[in-house]
């Protein structure tokens, strides 16, 4: 890894003195997840730190493959079923309910809903397990705007009609900082990072962003829109999807290390992909689908706040701990329907639910295993990046923390501070949420190796990585939980966004409508909500139920 010059912040003497963690930080700094066994976070003292690997009901999910399942013991009629309680499924339920359709159930495998927006809580703070902020919606994100207004987050209107958001929930200053060779620096954007000698390249990059941002295709639609489905299929932009962002940078002759770092960081952050594996189209979409100065809404529990709103709205329509074992389209007289077999994890019984309509908001990679007779050509093109997310309870915050704290010489994304939005002035205990996307070119190998690691190995590697920024980090941490996300994000690799497979995935199958951000090719809140609302509206159209479109 050429990006890791020797000895950043560490000299040989420190290394020889062998403070716990430092040596490990040295060996792991560039790759906190080395493949060679034995070198994984050695020498970090974990004796004073509690914690474990939490989340993901792998065992329950595993029973699908082993086939160790009882026969259905009861049958029940439900007019409408939503399968999957991530943002797409929850949004579908939200849209139905807001349109006066209340007779449905939502089934979720895990014991809490939220998907990538799940959250946790301990005696110090709430904290996110995944998505931790929501950019203020662009005018096209009408459904997001509707949701935020319903959550009382819009407190007024500027004279030009744009909404005023509740300042308590807009990300407070200071927003971001990055640890470079010469210390912490405010801001992580290309402009913050690049030096004066790179001014020409920075200007060229910014000029290109401005051009793409205002791009309109022959159909009048923006080149890069959010939701992405509203983007114009302009051949000139489509061509970008055949390249990786790295190839595009090479082609443009942009060589600045800092610019490449920044773009790579953004790809890792939003897509779990590297510069090499992100399609140039998706890469540009990141920068050009939103305005220049975008603000974020954030809460201690991240987007868990939105999940709680959905939960409160949907009430007991939500059923958790439900493993869907089989989805079978049925023909009941003249009307098509769907039989859904559901294993209740608590009761060990399988129930068969007969539904007129189903919104399948499950990740697309599991769908072919579940739906009898459904085939999706090119399903193998749906690939997912694994993520490691850790929540560290610290008894003392590091000095000068911003909301988002990034370490330049690390493959992790750094950490965010859960208590950042707290209004109390002096708060020392906090929870740091650490994000590490595994951006390897072969995600399934990375996933396998990720799942084989023990808590001790992950905790050591994470502390060693954070020790690059805070050499005393292990003495600040009381508790460290790790969540291993096997399929955290759909990967917008070259060719995927404009692929036939992705287009076909959106087609309903009988009475089954699909909804998931996988179908957008971008694992974003806006996309998940868009897909969920769209499926809900499609079902209502089939039902002949009048509704006002949120899209």
């Amino acid at each position: 890894m050429s990006r890791c010059p020797p000895g950043r912040g560490l000299d040989r003497r420190q290394l020889l003195l062998g403070a716990p963690g430092l040596a490990a930080a040295w060996t792991l700094g560039c790759a906190p997840y080395p493949r060679a066994p034995g070198s994984f976070g050695e020498g970090v003292d974990l004796s004073a730190i509690s914690g474990g690997i939490v989340g993901a009901s792998l065992e329950l999910g595993h029973r699908l493959r082993t086939g160790d399942l009882p026969e259905p013991s009861s049958v029940r009629e439900v007019p409408l079923l939503i399968l999957g309680g991530g943002i797409a499924g929850l949004s579908a339920g939200w849209k139905l309910l807001n349109s006066g359709v209340g007779d449905f159930e939502l089934l979720e495998l895990e014991d809490t809903v939220g998907g990538n927006s799940r959250w946790g809580e301990n005696e110090v703070s709430r904290f996110p397990w995944g998505a931790h902020y929501l950019p203020l919606p662009t005018p096209e994100c009408t459904a997001v705007h509707e949701l935020l207004a319903e959550m009382d987050l819009i407190v007024g209107e500027h004279p030009d009609g744009t909404p005023i958001y509740d300042p308590r929930h807009l990300c407070h200053a200071p927003h971001e900082r990055v640890l470079l060779d010469d210390g912490w620096r405010d801001g992580i954007s290309a402009r913050d990072l690049m030096s004066s000698t790179e001014a020409a390249e920075l200007a060229a990059f910014e000029r290109q962003v401005a051009i793409y941002r205002s791009w309109r295709g022959a159909d009048g639609r923006p080149g890069f829109a959010l939701p992405a489905a509203l983007s114009s299929p302009d051949p000139e932009l489509l061509e970008l999807d055949s390249l990786s962002l790295r190839q595009d940078l090479d082609r443009r002759g942009w060589r600045s290390e800092r610019l490449r770092w920044y773009l790579d960081y953004c790809c890792r952050d939003d897509y779990g992909c590297s510069l090499e594996t992100t399609s140039a189209w998706a890469g540009w979409h990141y920068f050009c689908s939103r305005p220049e100065e975008v603000e974020y809404l954030t809460w201690p529990e991240g987007n868990g706040r939105v999940v709680q709103h959905f939960e409160a709205r949907l009430g007991d329509r939500v059923r958790t701990g439900q493993l869907i074992t089989r989805i079978t389209p049925t023909a009941d007289g003249s009307q098509a329907g769907v039989a859904v077999d559901v294993l209740d994890a608590g009761r060990e019984t399988v129930e068969r639910l007969h539904a007129r309509h189903v919104i399948c908001a499950l990740p697309r990679f599991v769908v072919p295993y579940l739906i009898a007779g459904y085939e999706l050509a090119g399903v193998e093109r749906f690939t997912y990046s694994p993520w490691v997310v850790a929540n560290l309870t610290v008894r003392r915050l590091p000095e000068g923390v911003a909301w988002d704290n990034v370490i330049y010489h690390s493959r992790s994304l750094g950490y965010v501070v859960a208590t950042h939005q707290n209004l109390e002035i002096a708060r020392q205990r906090s929870v740091l949420t650490y994000y590490l996307p595994l951006t390897d070119t072969d995600p399934s190998a990375a996933r396998q190796s990720m799942l084989e690691r023990s808590w001790e190995e992950w905790a050591s590697a994470i502390l060693a990585d954070l020790a690059l920024a805070h050499p005393d980090i292990h003495s600040r941490v009381d508790h460290l939980d790790v969540m291993l996300w096997g399929h955290a994000m759909i990967r917008p690799v070259p060719g995927f966004f404009w692929s036939e497979a992705r287009r076909l995935a959106a087609e309903p199958f009988g009475a089954i409508h699909f909804a998931h951000s996988d179908m957008s090719g971008l694992s974003l809140f806006e996309e998940a909500q868009y897909q969920g609302v769209k499926a809900a509206e499609a079902v209502m159209s089939e039902l002949g139920h009048a509704y006002r479109s949120s899209l």
Binding site: A173, P174, L423, E424, A426
Partner: protein, 518 residues
């Protein structure tokens, strides 16, 4: 004098040892006295009084010691060595004991005077005992002249060393440990010389233990920490403690007491009345009926002291984050004197809470609110100057009520001053900015805010030293160099005030250092 026990070589080294002892004893004795006097002046102020009392007490204790020496009859050398060890220990730890007692105990004077008394008695014992030991070796007239002259020379050495080198370079803590160790070293030397006549291994062990303790004292980290801290502050530190929230340091030089929080000056006792009168009284006079008052920040009780001067004030609620500050300024004699024991007034209720959270949890309305937070030099404090904070504050303002807010310096950081004013205006308040000269801070700014238009009144509370009806109008006139500038209101998501403040002070100190540079 018996010739049989007296060999010339051996005798000469013993005599030399005892005479060196006299010199060291004299130096150490005076150093302990000077330490006690200096520390008492640092901590209590009024150096003439403190030095007079300490010297008087110390000399009389020495007299008492000399008198008591008659009761020592046997094994004089052993007694002398024991006293040396004891003096070394007690004198050696005197500085840390005084500082600790001042910070931790109510009865500081009791500890101080007892300590001085004990040290004095022990030092008073030394010379008479020594003369009696030496009188076997010298004719009395010769002995008296030698011992007394060495005693005075030792005192001279101490009195010169102390102000010129020890206090400025070595520091009070370390000086006390060093001279304690010297005292014990004399004891050890004496022990070795008289070892054949007085075989007391246990005495040697005691002496070495004492020496070890004092030498450790010289190098302790606590001493080094406060040593470096003392360099940070120009004036001697009389109180320094850390709470979970901040480091509280109080310094005194002559009659001036200064409070620092995290190294930032909060007030100087010389002119804090100007700051606090200007903070409280213009608003208090303008408030139609200031029965229920709220003070946010200001755990030093100085703003509360000003409010108590107005008989219309029936109750004062003080909300300060740090119990260390409010407790110290209520219970500590020196600190409570600064606020006239305001925090013990039956009209005052103290809450140790975060202002933001406290305001959220309360519904009580107030007629007059004083906001006295530290300057917005960090993002965490900056939150207390945002629109969100002021919106929350307004909910506690009774109809016709007024808010007075410390608003940083309009001269040094003009944009941050007007930013606070603008932020208050942007949440729909009527504002009246004003300023007052506070020598240790410079030109300082405040803002009055209310839902209704503010009518300035010159019916000031009695007992003011700075504000008067004829002075009041000058507070509201802004000269050209402090006139409003274009600024944005301060919000949680931009915290623009923290940036204005930082830029303002950086530019000011740059300009200042250029002007005073070589």
């Amino acid at each position: 004098m018996s010739a049989s026990t007296y060999s010339p070589v051996d005798g000469r080294s013993k005599t030399l040892a005892l005479l060196v002892s006299v010199f060291t004893i004299a130096t150490c004795g005076l150093v302990y006295e000077l330490l006690a006097g200096t520390i008492a002046s640092y901590l209590l102020g009024d150096s003439v009084t403190q030095f007079s009392i300490i010297i008087g007490l110390y000399l009389s204790a020495m007299g008492l010691g000399s008198y008591l020496s008659r009761y020592f009859q046997r094994e004089l050398v052993v007694r002398f060595i024991q006293i040396e060890i004891l003096v070394g220990l007690i004198g050696g730890v005197s500085s840390p004991v005084f500082f600790f007692a001042f910070a931790e105990l109510q009865a500081f004077r009791l500890v101080l005077f007892s300590w001085v008394l004990i040290t004095g008695v022990l030092v008073g014992l030394e010379i008479p005992l020594l003369i009696r030991i030496l009188k076997e070796r010298f004719p009395l007239d010769d002995l008296i002249s030698r011992v007394l002259s060495l005693d005075y020379v030792g005192a001279l050495a101490a009195s010169l060393l102390f102000p010129l080198w020890l206090v400025p370079r070595v520091g009070l803590m370390r000086t006390s440990f060093i001279f304690g160790a010297l005292n014990v070293a004399v004891a050890i030397w004496t022990c070795h010389i008289f070892y054949r006549e007085h075989r007391r291994p246990s005495l040697l062990v005691q002496a070495y233990l004492a020496l070890g303790l004092l030498v450790a004292g010289i190098f302790t980290s606590a001493e080094l920490a406060s040593f470096s801290e003392r360099r940070l502050y120009k004036e001697p530190i009389i109180f320094s403690q850390s709470s979970p929230y901040q480091r509280v340091v109080l310094t005194r030089s002559d009659e001036e007491v200064r409070l620092y929080l995290n190294g930032e000056l909060q007030f100087s006792s010389l002119d804090e009345y100007r700051y606090h009168e200007a903070l409280v009284h213009p608003g208090l006079a303008a408030a139609p009926s200031p029965r229920r008052c709220l003070v946010l920040g200001g755990g030093d009780g100085l703003a509360v002291r000003e409010l108590l001067k107005d008989d219309r004030v029936e109750s004062i609620t003080l909300v300060d984050l740090d119990p260390l500050v409010t407790q110290s300024f209520r219970d500590h004699a020196t600190l409570a004197l600064l606020n006239d024991h305001a925090l013990r007034s039956p009209r005052v209720t103290v809450h140790n809470a975060d202002a933001f959270v406290w305001l959220q949890d309360q519904e009580q309305p107030f007629d007059f609110i004083v906001v006295d937070f530290p300057d917005p030099l960090s993002y965490s404090v900056g939150k207390l100057y945002t629109r969100t904070f002021y919106r929350r504050l307004i909910r506690h303002l009774a109809p016709g009520g007024l808010i007075a807010i410390q608003s940083t310096s309009p001269l040094v950081s003009r944009r941050s001053f007007w930013c606070i004013v603008e932020t208050l205006r942007s949440v729909g308040l009527e504002v009246t900015p004003y300023h007052a000269p506070v020598p240790t801070f410079g030109e300082w700014g405040y803002t009055l805010a209310s839902r209704e238009p503010i009518q300035i009144s010159d019916r000031l509370a009695p007992g003011l030293r700075f504000l008067a009806p004829e002075v009041l109008p000058s507070l509201f006139a802004f000269p050209a160099d402090m006139q409003p500038v274009a600024v944005e209101p301060n919000q949680l998501n931009n915290q623009i005030l923290v940036r204005y403040y930082e830029q303002g002070w950086r530019q000011y100190t740059q300009r200042h250092s250029q002007r005073s540079g070589p």
